[in-house]
Symmetry: C2
């Protein structure tokens, strides 16, 4: 393609609304344009990158025997009501755009396709002989994000490959899950990305196990914890670890102490001259279930630890049936105003005891919440501990479970693992932390959707059984931007060769020099014929402008038909390393061929 014929507009300055480097660079280099909040046009250069990523994704999926299809983006609400997710997705989390058609039927704009594919499986799969089956699609998805940002990273429209597999049993599911794990690793490696596969929480998708594929970058929204030896890696939402040992308590007798102004753990420990590991901290949460029932949750945890809200949410979801509910639609630490909707007396913040007094949680005012206590394992192990006295300005010391305080039956792990903790199964290893961009997520769904939607098959014995399912997603547009986030310098983007929009750019320093133009056009034609995707910068611009633009858009190899042509050579500059060398014109194509082949891993 000739730049003079392309929609090619670069910006000198960083756009005001872009926060992270990759977002700024994609805007400046003319890859994308913002059309509305979280809505972007993929311009021709970006489209080529997306096509290359898509090609790698397809090749890896097809190699596993998965079959491509395309499902509707508009989805009848009825299907989502069958699975029980309509309210969660359109109201509680509100993440799904919904609309009413001209016949007053409700439709959702697909953020994911478990319901649709399960309806198809229910219709078409009859026998074990049709299994396993793995279907996938590449498609634009929609999410009504609370805060769309970072360009393509968290847009309201984005391109996904989502796939769904069906199985006779869990063993077959695990086999395909393993294939997908490998395929996803291949996709990211072939796209030229540094990444980590981590254990993950399954969230609203559900199921029994999942792995996220994280592209490592400072701007990542996720935190990953991992061991140096690579044997353990998990999203912080999911991570487990061994906390540091608690120090033995220095309080041997139970007594109430005056602790004025000690409403934080730090202040308390300073005041009492004790370690935070000797303290039981009690935090009150408020959760609302999908049937409207409000439950107050008191979590007791060791003083220096923090509550992992995702783990807490999972524990509370397990208790949902106790309250006649299916799922949680809200979980917060209540503020004073909220607290006053159910209690007459303000909470003694910083002084709450493990058996919080009734007056703080029920006073028959506007709402009548239920109440439950959870105790984290770190708190359970403590002896002679320090904790709140349910009265502002007072703590108790030397307390013990089963003596002053009843231990709740709900002993759980809701602790947030963190950098520096020892690994649970490899205690000789310490957890380290990194930021990651989640570009892929694979799930073992089990029978969650097949049971709720009645998708069954007949086994060899003629019995009707629920299908086992897996689902597998990779964000194609997010992956493309994450490559930029991982690879740029002060002058612009440095694309991995495998997903660069073009391999090479031939730059004519002086468009008025007929010899330069002739050689450039000849090389441009020759390179493209040889399958090396090449741009020709034939614009009537200064050489400096052209070099700056080539650096900004990040094409791997720049060929300059400058002074060296007098010696039958051209200058070839590698964008990533800035290495420059003069190459004999007749050898440019074969040289680039070799370099590109070395840089790109092709699927056989």
């Amino acid at each position: 393609m000739r730049l003079s014929k392309m929609l090619f507009v670069t910006l000198r300055d960083d756009p005001a609304d872009a926060e992270i480097p990759s977002h700024k660079l994609l805007l400046r280099a003319g890859y994308i344009r913002r059309i509305g909040s979280g809505l972007y046009a993929y311009l021709p250069l970006m489209w080529r990158v997306l096509q290359k990523v898509s090609k790698i994704v397809r090749e890896e999926m097809n190699a596993t025997g998965a079959q491509e299809c395309l499902l509707p983006q508009l989805q009848p609400a009825d299907l989502w009501k069958e699975s029980g997710r309509w309210d969660t997705y359109t109201k509680a989390e509100g993440i799904m755009f919904s609309l009413i058609d001209r016949r007053d039927q409700q439709l959702g704009l697909g953020p994911t396709h478990e319901e649709v594919i399960t309806a198809i499986a229910r219709d078409m799969i009859r026998s074990y002989r049709q299994l396993p089956l793995n279907l996938y699609q590449l498609q634009t998805k929609f999410r009504d994000e609370i805060r769309p940002r970072f360009g393509l990273m968290r847009g309201r429209e984005f391109i996904m490959k989502d796939g769904y597999s069906f199985h006779v049993d869990e063993a077959s599911l695990k086999e395909t899950y393993q294939d997908m794990y490998q395929a996803y690793s291949n996709m990211l490696r072939r796209s030229g990305l540094a990444f980590r596969a981590v254990e993950a929480d399954s969230g609203a998708i559900g199921g029994s196990g999942s792995t996220e594929f994280m592209v490592l970058a400072e701007a990542g929204e996720d935190e990953v914890l991992f061991t140096e030896d690579g044997k353990y890696a998990a999203n912080v939402e999911k991570a487990v670890s061994l906390p540091a040992d608690a120090e033995p308590s220095r309080f041997t007798t139970y007594e109430k102490r005056d602790t004025p102004g000690a409403e934080t753990i730090d202040k308390l420990c300073q005041f009492l001259k004790c370690s935070p590991t000797q303290v039981v901290k009690n935090v009150l949460y408020q959760t609302v279930y999908d049937n409207g029932v409000t439950v107050l949750v008191l979590v007791s945890i060791r003083g220096e630890q923090e509550v992992n809200q995702v783990k807490l949410q999972n524990e509370l979801t397990k208790l949902a049936s106790n309250y006649g509910a299916n799922t949680i639609i809200a979980l917060d630490v209540p503020n004073q105003e909220t607290q006053q909707t159910w209690a007459a007396k303000s909470l003694p913040l910083g002084y709450i005891a493990p058996d919080i007094a009734d007056e703080y949680i029920t006073a028959n005012k506007q709402i009548h919440p239920k109440f439950v206590r959870l105790v984290d394992k770190t708190a359970v192990e403590l002896k002679n501990f320090v904790t709140g006295a349910n009265e502002t300005g007072f703590h108790v010391v030397g307390a013990n479970w089963g003596e002053q305080f009843q231990l709740s039956e709900n002993v759980v792990d809701v602790r947030k693992a963190r950098s520096g903790d020892r690994a649970l199964h490899h205690p000789e290893q310490t957890l380290q932390s990194a930021r990651g961009i989640e570009v892929g997520h694979i799930f073992q769904l089990g029978t969650k959707y097949s049971l709720s939607m009645g998708a069954t098959y007949t086994n060899e014995q003629g019995e009707e059984k629920p299908l086992f399912m897996g689902c597998y997603g990779v964000g194609v547009s997010r992956l493309a931007q994450s490559a930029v986030e991982q690879s740029y310098d002060k002058d612009g983007i440095i694309w991995p060769v495998a997903i660069a929009p073009y391999h090479a750019i031939v730059t004519i320093p002086n468009i008025n020099d007929a010899r330069q133009v002739e050689i450039a056009q000849q090389l441009y034609t020759e390179l493209n014929r040889a399958g090396i995707e090449t741009l020709l910068d034939d614009r009537d611009e200064r050489a400096g402008v052209k070099f700056k633009d080539a650096d900004l858009i990040g094409i791997p190899y720049r060929i300059v038909t400058g002074r060296a042509i007098a010696n039958g050579k051209v200058e070839v500059v590698e964008r990533a390393t800035r290495n420059s060398q003069e190459i004999v014109i007749e050898e440019v194509t074969s040289t680039l061929h070799k370099w590109i082949a070395a840089a790109i891993e092709v699927k056989n």
Copy 2:
């Protein structure tokens, strides 16, 4: 692909809700499944067809220098308000799905992208040096159809290639329009379709000229009129022609006649023993403009002719500014109930005069419509004509314009051309009629969107000028189904080789015959390696079932590893002709290569 591993389910019987052959066949053969009204899943076989059509479309577009991009499907309402189409698309015609996001912002789901691309052009195009520019995308579009039907033909979600070009002037636009005309012709020819390019009405898209590409098929929703010599072809909505000459009137004196029960032209002519070409027929329409103004429209036309409602709508749109409006949102022949909302006296249907009496059109009841008269050219030319007397049971004969009736200043062509009419510019040719499926439509938009949205460029003289635009659409999913509508027999689909999901299928008649299986697998591997896309029917089914399925799904070549293998041969059956021949196993690949190459035209 092995059928045993595929999502491959065929149905024995026609699905109840499918009306046309292609819809029935695509459902029966397992290409598509209905997910909701007008919403279909494209299953793996269908997806391959769509990918092949898309590839041809891309190749033809790229060959013209057009650049692929991808625009958001969700579109901010503000853009559509700038162009003035928001109300027309979401309310009047209601063809665009609209929704409200979590921040109460209005969004539309794109049925087309003039607004978005014009916003991009406004942002990025500054100078004549960037022009011409032609951008296109392949994307799923949405239309909230009044009556979704015929499968992919009129779905609520469908795949389109839409393209938009920008120019300094009309001459440049016409050049690209001509390129697109050629590219579209190439796409359809290469896809193996019989089609006709016809003059078309530009409808709600607007602009000065447009061509539709019609795939010819009985089930087509459109009527096409054309001359044998191919010099003229048009959609009936747009078509012009020469009507038959009127017979000279047999009434020389003006008088009122008693014509009881002559409320149709046929009865009237029988009663008066005159030709319908001597009659002026008067039809009352009611139209509503976008500002809510209602206008009654009396159309006078020669007795045997019919009103073309599209032409009428275009004429009334031209008059919109007279009523302070921009466009029409409804146009109907009012029924009695409607008529009584604005008149006290019922219309004398069949007896209305060219100067309809006031009492029939205004009586100050609920609404106060305005009134306008239009006279079709066929009526203007009549002398001593017969027409209604504004009184049930009475006509007048021997009437003349300028004598008994004032001729309206609005003389128009609103006549529906029809088969048998003489061609306007080739009166020696007679128009013929065919049914067509509109799969492509290209438009010269001119400055409609650039003016309303302020998209300009600076010309060589430094002056700011509005961009000239063209837009070009082809329905990828509709094209695929139209191929089936054009090519099937009682046993199933007969795909054109160029867009068949697979080129060949190797059928093993008896899966328990090791020799059959061995040769089949060997051929299957060899064919695929040679780039001949081949299925292997390795299912444990009877041979008859397999042959029936292969016919149903319409794969061009079936290779049967049956009895002939004893002689080192296999049977090869061509689906389209049912020609069967035995071919030496070693020559199958080269033979198919030759046949397929002969059947497919490849873009160089």
